[in-house]
C-alpha cells in the first residue's frame, strides 16, 4: 500500500485513557456536588471533551486528511442544527 499510516504509540493511547477516566470521575463529582438541573450543561461540556478525545486520538481523526475532517464537521453541524431548530419551537410555545 502506498498510503502512509500514522502509528499512535501505546503511551499516548494510555495517556488519553487516563484523561478519559479523570473526566469520568470529574463528571460524577460535579453531578453530586451541584444540585439542580443546571449541571446538565457542565455534564454535557465534560462529555463533549471526552468525545473529542475519543474522536481525535482513538479514532485517529487528528491524523486524517481534510475530507474526513470536513465530513465530521458537516455531520455534527447537521445534528446541532436539528437540535437547535427544534428548540426554537419547543422553548417558545
Amino acid at each position: 500500500m502506498s498510503e502512509q499510516h500514522h502509528i499512535i504509540s501505546y503511551r499516548k493511547l494510555i495517556a488519553v485513557w487516563a484523561g478519559l477516566l479523570f473526566l469520568t470521575a470529574l463528571t460524577v463529582w460535579a453531578a453530586r456536588h451541584q444540585v439542580g438541573i443546571g449541571h446538565v450543561w457542565i455534564s454535557l461540556a465534560i462529555a463533549a471533551a471526552k468525545g473529542g478525545l475519543v474522536i481525535a486520538v482513538f479514532m485517529h481523526m487528528r491524523y486524517e486528511g481534510r475530507l474526513l475532517r470536513w465530513l465530521l464537521f458537516v455531520a455534527l453541524s447537521v445534528l446541532a442544527i436539528f437540535i437547535g431548530l427544534t428548540f426554537f419551537d419547543v422553548l417558545y410555545r
Binding site: M1, E3, H5, I7, I8, S9, Y10, L13, I14, V16, W17, L20, L21, T24, T27, V28, A31, R32, V35, I37, H39, V40, S43, L44, I46, A47, K50, G51, V54, I55, V57, F58, M59, H60, L67, L68, L71, L72, A75, L76, V78, L79, F82, I83, T86, F87, V90, L91
Partner: protein, 200 residues
C-alpha cells in the same frame, strides 16, 4: 488464473465514517427527544434520574473506555506487525463487551424487579414525565446494547482473521473499521452516562 484483489484503503475508511455519521444521527434523534422532554419535565426527569443505579453506570463507563483503549492499542499493534499482541488486545476488548452486557443484565433485572419498565403499573400510575424518562432510557440504552453486541461479534470476526493472518500490517483496514465502530459505541455511551445516570 490469478486473481488480483482490489484494495482501496481510503475508500473503505471513508465508507465506514459515512456509516458512523448515520449512526450519530440515529442516536442524535434519541438525544433530541431526550432534550425536548427534559425541557418539558425537568422535575420528573430529576426524580427519575435519582432512581438510576449510578454504580452500574459508572462501572460500565470505565469498562467501555478501557475496551476502547484496548481496541485502539490493537490497531497500533497490527501496524507494528505484532499479530499476537493485536489478537490478545482484541480478546480483551471482547471480554469488556461481555462484562458490559452482563452488568446491563443485572442492572435491568433489578430495575424490572422494582417495577420500572415501559408500561409497568408503577410507571403508568406515576407522573407522565417519569415514564417518558424510562421509556427513552430503555430505548436508548437498549439500542446501544444492541450496538455493543454487534460490535463484539464484528471484533470477534476480526480477531479470528488476525489469528489466521489474513489481517496483517499490510492490510488491516477491517481491524481499523471494527475499532472505529467500537469507538462509536464508546462515544455514544459517553453521552448516555451523564444524561441518564447523573441527572440527580
Amino acid at each position: 488464473m490469478s486473481v488480483t484483489l482490489h484494495r482501496d484503503y481510503a475508500g473503505a475508511k471513508l465508507g465506514m465514517w459515512l456509516f458512523l455519521f448515520t449512526e450519530l444521527l440515529l442516536f442524535g434523534g434519541l438525544f433530541l427527544l431526550y432534550a425536548a422532554y427534559l425541557a418539558r419535565y425537568p422535575q420528573e426527569f430529576g426524580a427519575a434520574g435519582r432512581e438510576m443505579q449510578l454504580a452500574f453506570g459508572t462501572v460500565n463507563t470505565v469498562i467501555l473506555i478501557t475496551s476502547s483503549l484496548l481496541a485502539a492499542m490493537a490497531v497500533t499493534a497490527i501496524q507494528r506487525n505484532r499479530q499476537q499482541a493485536a489478537f490478545r488486545l482484541l480478546v480483551g476488548t471482547i471480554l469488556c463487551a461481555l462484562v458490559f452486557l452482563g452488568n446491563k443484565y443485572l442492572e435491568w433485572s433489578i430495575e424490572i424487579g422494582r417495577g420500572i419498565y415501559p408500561g409497568s403499573e408503577r410507571l403508568v400510575a406515576g407522573p407522565p414525565g417519569e415514564s417518558v424518562f424510562y421509556s427513552l432510557y430503555y430505548l436508548t440504552a437498549g439500542l446501544h446494547g444492541l450496538h455493543v453486541l454487534i460490535g463484539g461479534f464484528f471484533l470477534a470476526l476480526v480477531a479470528v482473521r488476525v489469528r489466521m493472518g489474513t489481517i496483517h500490517a499490510g492490510d488491516f483496514v477491517l481491524l481499523e473499521n471494527g475499532a472505529l465502530y467500537w469507538h462509536l459505541v464508546d462515544l455514544i455511551w459517553i453521552f448516555i452516562f451523564p444524561l441518564y445516570y447523573l441527572i440527580l
